[in-house]
Amino acid sequence: MQSLAAVNINKYFYDPQEFHVLKEVSFEVKRGEFISVVGKSGSGKSTLLYLLSTLDTAYTGSIAINGTTVTGLTQNQLATFRNEHIGFVFQFHYLLPEFTVLDNVMLPALKLNKRPKEEIREKALDLLTLLDVRGHEHKKASMISGGQQQRVAIARALINDPAIIMGDEPTGNLDSKNTKTVFNIFRQLARERNQTIIAVTHDDEFAANCDRIIEMVDGRIIAQHP
């Protein structure tokens, strides 16, 4: 069963000069697959992930997620789609600094509004426990360390049980122990809950243990292995 399909994606930046950043990118991801995207700095990994997560719509080609062609949907339709189907962990762990850790994790679920608030709260606390940031849930998000923030961001990405989770170096700020924890969580979500994971990483060990590695050079996919 197909979770994501990208067909012949091309993207240009025009500022400061025309720059062909993604070149004829096509690939497919099966449901429950755990994929890592690797490549040198500047090879276009983040750019690709913004397209796949539907945040960036300025490209040619087409993207389908969970059988829905997202290319061509309006911004508001995409927002609703993201809320329900995509969990995103940014390269820089962006939280809402004025909200508590718990509120940050709960917000996407409150926005989706499909479960009662109590249940959302329970689930958020479970995720925080899972990611080892329990005990900080009532602190402001700006009051915890970088590594903790990154794990809170991961918890937030998981709260709506999205069909597909995308991470731009989700373990970039973590020590090896926490990296292992996050990796194991992703592994488990993919295997047991059939959630698709696409993670950009510079961590060779992380990549090596994935189901598949997509390697990018200068905006092209040059290899997929195994």
Binding site: L55, A79, Y94, K111, L112
Partner: protein, 413 residues
């Protein structure tokens, strides 16, 4: 969905209390000034009108003598006759109103006319010792006169009803009394234009606030005036009427005009300056207060714009998490509306308090002892309505801008 957005608005508002305070303050200032300006201007207008109508009736009926001269001789029949009439003058005419009772009845039968009185006015000489002054003597109907002019309120000494009790009683305008160096209890001599002289006793002093009138007018009872001028019982120089709302005087004068063979004149005729002064003051009040409100609107706009700029990253994150443009508008617009509501209601109270304080500042003119303030509920409603409209606009623009933030551009870092 709404509750989540409101929660976000609330967190934004409460995490920047100082900004919230400044924004609320600018609304409070705008609204309270709007209320104060309008209350004060209305107060001044009403005071002005009150003073004006202490000596002027809404409608005046009098015998207008400036008619065309009647034709004294029929024109010559044949063209070879030349006719000269030099130094033509009227030799018989009626002065004043012969049958004032009839006019009073016509006026009273109009249901918009609330009070009617008659006066006999005459230019006379006042003499007290060597002081000899020209002035107006008003014979007044002691019962009805106060119904039109609130005359009793302006008596600074003595009692108006004394005029009915003694045929030789006279009430002097305050300025006139000073010019004559006459005091209550003194006797003064009156000489009419026909040369009749009579001694009157001062029983009261009146001060209406209109200097020119206070300096030249004295009042006696209408019966004494008729006697003094040897006129019949129903004689009056003018019949005066007040209507329910003085703004309607023109319309009502037109209604009764047909039945009255004398000149029937609403107050606006010949007093256009009063009407236009009121209108001008209203325009100034509205212009100034709206300007203040708009400046307050800029205050909110500025603060919300700052908030949006500061929160670009948060907006991008919210959008990435699935909040759409409408949500973002709602989140930021809610903040300005809350600011508008808190500031608005505080402003209403503050405006009322400022007005109440100014209302107590001593200011002596005519029958006023403090600065005039009118408390008009409509001013308060309008202040709130304008205030909220302006807050809404001032909040909508930054909110719209926030909703158009491109999350990728921000998140790419």
């Amino acid at each position: 969905m709404n509750r989540t957005n409101n929660k976000i608005s609330w967190v934004h508002l409460t995490s920047k209390l100082r900004q919230l305070f400044v924004a609320v303050l600018s609304v409070v200032f705008g609204i309270s000034m709007y209320i104060f300006m309008n209350s004060f201007m209305n107060g001044v207008n009403n005071a002005q009108t009150d003073i004006t109508f202490t000596s002027m009736a809404h409608i005046k009926v009098y015998n207008d003598l400036n008619g065309e001269s009647p034709i004294l001789l029929p024109p010559p029949l044949s063209s070879d006759t030349i006719q000269f009439v030099s130094n033509a003058r009227e030799i018989s005419y009626t002065e004043g109103i012969r049958n004032a009772d009839e006019i009073k009845n016509i006026l009273l039968s109009n249901k918009n006319i609330v009070a009617v009185t008659e006066q006999v006015n005459q230019n006379v000489f006042f003499r007290n010792g060597v002081a000899k002054l020209n002035g107006t003597l008003s014979g007044i109907d002691v019962t009805n006169e106060p119904r039109l002019f609130g005359t009793n309120d302006y008596m600074v000494e003595g009692d108006l009803t004394e005029l009915d009790k003694r045929p030789d009683a006279i009430v002097l305008g305050s300025g006139l009394a000073v010019r004559l160096s006459a005091y209550t209890g003194d006797n003064i001599t009156l000489t009419t234009s026909d040369g009749v002289t009579k001694i009157f006793r001062i029983t009261g002093i009146i001060e209406t606030g209109t200097g020119s009138i206070d300096k030249s007018r004295a009042m006696i009872s209408i019966q004494s005036a008729r006697q003094l001028l040897s006129k019949n019982k129903s004689y009056a120089t003018e019949v005066l009427a007040n209507v329910r709302d003085y703004n309607d005087a023109r319309k009502i004068a037109d209604e009764v005009k047909g039945d009255i063979k004398y000149k029937t004149e609403p107050w606006q005729e010949g007093n256009a300056q009063l009407e236009s002064a009121n209108t001008l003051r209203d325009i100034i009040a509205v212009a100034v207060s709206l300007t203040i409100l708009i400046v307050a609107g800029f205050g909110i706009y500025n603060i919300m714009n700052m908030t949006v700029n500061e929160k670009m990253k948060e907006i991008a994150i919210l959008k990435a998490m699935g909040f759409d443009g409408k949500d973002i508008i709602q989140i930021f617009l809610t903040q300005s509306i809350i600011i508008g509501l808190i500031g608005g209601f505080t402003g209403l109270i503050t405006g009322f308090i400022i007005s109440a304080i100014v209302d107590r500042i001593p200011f002596h003119i005519a029958s006023f002892t403090t600065l005039p303030i009118s408390y008009i509920p409509l001013d308060y409603v309008m202040a709130l309505v304008f205030g909220l409209i302006i807050t809404f606009i001032a909040g909508y623009l930054p909110a719209k801008k926030a909703s158009e933030v491109d999350p990728v551009a921000i998140l790419r870092g």
